[in-house]
Amino acid sequence: MAYDKFNTLTSTAVPLPLENVDTDQIIPARFLKATERKGFGDNLFRDWRYNGDDTPKESFILNNSVYGGKILVGGRNFGSGSSREHAAWAIYDYGFRCVVSSFFADIFRNNCLNIGVLPVQVSAEFSEQIFNAIYDDPNTELKISLEDQSITILSTGATESFEINSYKKENMSNGFDDIDYLQNIKGDIETFAKGRLF
């Protein structure tokens, strides 16, 4: 599914410093019953965000109007567990375009890259600096440049670079996905398939 191009993003951010945030928390399994990709943002972090009677839990960060923006800053090992791409969809659909963490689970990171959410992995120290800056001033903006592969805390000027492979970088900056690429080399794939033992 095509997505918006990603170049530079400057935005305030929502801090969620918990570690090992798994995809069952990002979107619980009972909300995976759709056959179309829409509406998942409503159930992002459902059980942390709402009580059993669907009233908002005031203590949860998404229900705190002081914090907002297009960047979610998570703790270490963000997105572990289930391969459900619905977790990345929920994050995108809610309005986030970038997730920052000091460590991402593998499949989640891949899913994000495939749907246009940029996963930015930073050092533990830089992650700490981001949390501190946001807690000092919730209006603190982060600037993420895909071109430069850099993330900057605008209030302090602190900056760090992040990794992304050149193929995915080009895809994200153009809004392409892997199917576009694979379709173009289908002939090669068909030839390869003919030589398989099983």
Partner: protein, 465 residues
């Protein structure tokens, strides 16, 4: 150049490598189910694409299915719609579909191997993280997202950078009552849930060589819980014996040709790993988890660890986890209250798991305070339970055998553990709310589950063997 088992299988499936990017990676077998495939099929439709290799694609319904009265219409309209959508998409694209009620229906990672779809040296994907199960046969198998399901449907390829390689050796003899599940939970407790992220694991050593295929599947299944994309074990005579004659395995000359290839599938003596870990089998006891991720496991005779050694963020997360469980540091696990017992899932829903369960409950009675859900991984497993006479023992002890499906592992159907209740589960994840909103999960082996089911509290199964 010397190669690992993983290198051999990976390298032979690379259609092309992109400089500074991923490999275009060919997929031999693609499993699909009702939850993660509908949006992929919708993507195909929107792009006007077809399924490239229906004969390499296998559909089964499992995540959403009820585990009682499967002959009746599915009550939940959303679940029913997903099941119907899978059936229609399969029919439209000529994909074999083992839906609800089909004699071969069951959990995708149980039915794949038992029908011989899973083969050594194959590459296998599915929109489900526990696809790592199939690595037990020496396949490269891993979970993918729905965008990738669409890629595989349309081009039989995905784009993946080659992961790093880790070998985990466990040598020595396992003690009484220590099962493959305990070996896996032990390793995860040592590595944490992020310890193998970015790696593909090969399991080696006496313990895995001596393990049954069912046990190897349990271990490989849990690879994802240490963060690894997958895990694999070199195929051997046990693997070939298991596979020979199953409905979808190669036959005749094709089998012989496959065997020539399969015999090459082992790590060369001097091949290098990016990381290598060694554990001693005698250090492992029956395991149980006390927290909200699979890395929070301890030997069943131990007490809940203290948080004093943990740093800031880690400590907050740890305390939140114990709060959720209603537990405190330094409490013993033995004797903890149990409300539910769940035996099943792609981790422990095979015949051997039910044999283990029965070995403890035989001649005893289900504890009155426990609700037990015994859910076979497939109809084939269900039939085996009956043939071996296990069902009679199960029934006499006051238990009921349900029908196959993922069930309470992720509680997408009606099998939900109520808020605040404790469940000893043979499944794979003890995340908050995994088995129903507010549910509290203790992951363990079928032996530990059985011991809890007849005593009503967390009990060391070695005392009942």
């Amino acid at each position: 150049m010397s190669k690992t088992l993983f290198d051999k299988v990976w390298d032979s499936h690379v259609v092309r490598s992109i400089e500074g990017g991923p490999d275009v990676f060919f997929i031999d077998r693609h499993f699909i189910h009702e939850v993660t495939s509908p949006v992929a099929f919708l993507g195909l439709k929107n792009r006007g694409l077809s399924v490239m290799s229906p004969e390499r694609t296998f559909a089964t319904a499992d995540h959403n299915t009820p585990t009682i009265n499967q002959h009746l219409p599915v009550e939940d309209p959303l679940s029913a719609n997903q099941l119907k959508t899978l059936e229609e998409n399969s029919k439209l694209h000529g994909i074999s579909h083992w839906g609800l009620g089909h004699e071969k229906n069951g959990i995708v990672h149980v039915v794949g191997p038992e029908n011989g779809i899973t083969l050594p040296g194959a590459t296998i994907v599915c929109g489900d993280s526990h696809t790592s199960t199939h690595g037990a046969f020496g396949a490269i198998a891993f979970g993918i997202g729905t965008s990738e399901v669409e890629m595989v449907l349309s081009t039989q390829c995905i784009m993946q950078p080659k992961p790093k390689k880790m070998r985990i050796n466990v040598n020595g003899q396992l003690g009484k009552g220590v099962t493959p599940k305990d070996v896996a939970l032990y390793i995860i407790s040592k590595l944490t849930t992020a310890g193998a992220t970015g790696y593909f694991v090969e399991y080696a050593g006496d313990v895995f060589e001596n393990m049954t295929m069912e046990g190897r599947m349990t271990v490989c299944n849990l690879s994802i819980e240490m963060g690894a994309r997958g895990g694999m074990i070199a195929p051997d005579e046990k693997t070939y014996t298991y596979l020979k004659g199953r409905s979808q395995t190669p036959k005749g000359d094709a089998w012989d040709a496959a065997m020539v290839y399969w015999k090459t599938l082992k790590t060369d003596a001097d091949a290098q790993f990016d990381k290598e870990l060694n554990f001693d089998a005698s250090d492992i006891e029956p395991m149980i988890t006390y927290g909200t991720n699979p890395g929070m496991g301890i030997g069943i005779s131990k007490s809940i660890p203290l948080s004093e050694a943990l740093g800031g963020g880690e400590k907050t997360t740890y305390k939140k986890s114990l709060d959720y469980m209603g537990y405190h540091e330094n409490e013993p696990m033995i004797g903890k209250k149990v409300d539910f017992v769940f035996v099943g899932s792609c981790t422990n829903g095979r015949i051997e798991d039910f044999r283990d369960f029965v070995s403890i409950i035989e001649g005893k009675q289900k504890a009155d305070n426990v609700t037990a859900w015994l859910v076979p991984g497939s109809h084939v497993v269900e039939a085996q339970i009956k043939e071996e006479g296990l069902l009679d023992i199960i029934t006499e002890a006051g238990f009921v055998l349900r029908q196959p499906g993922c069930s309470a592992c992720l509680a997408m159907n009606d099998d939900k553990v109520p808020a605040g209740k404790y469940a000893v589960s043979t499944s794979n994840r003890n995340f908050e709310g995994r088995q129903g909103p507010g549910s509290r999960t203790l992951l363990a082996s079928p032996l530990v589950a059985a011991a809890a089911a007849v005593t009503g509290v967390v009990t060391d199964p070695r005392s009942l063997l």
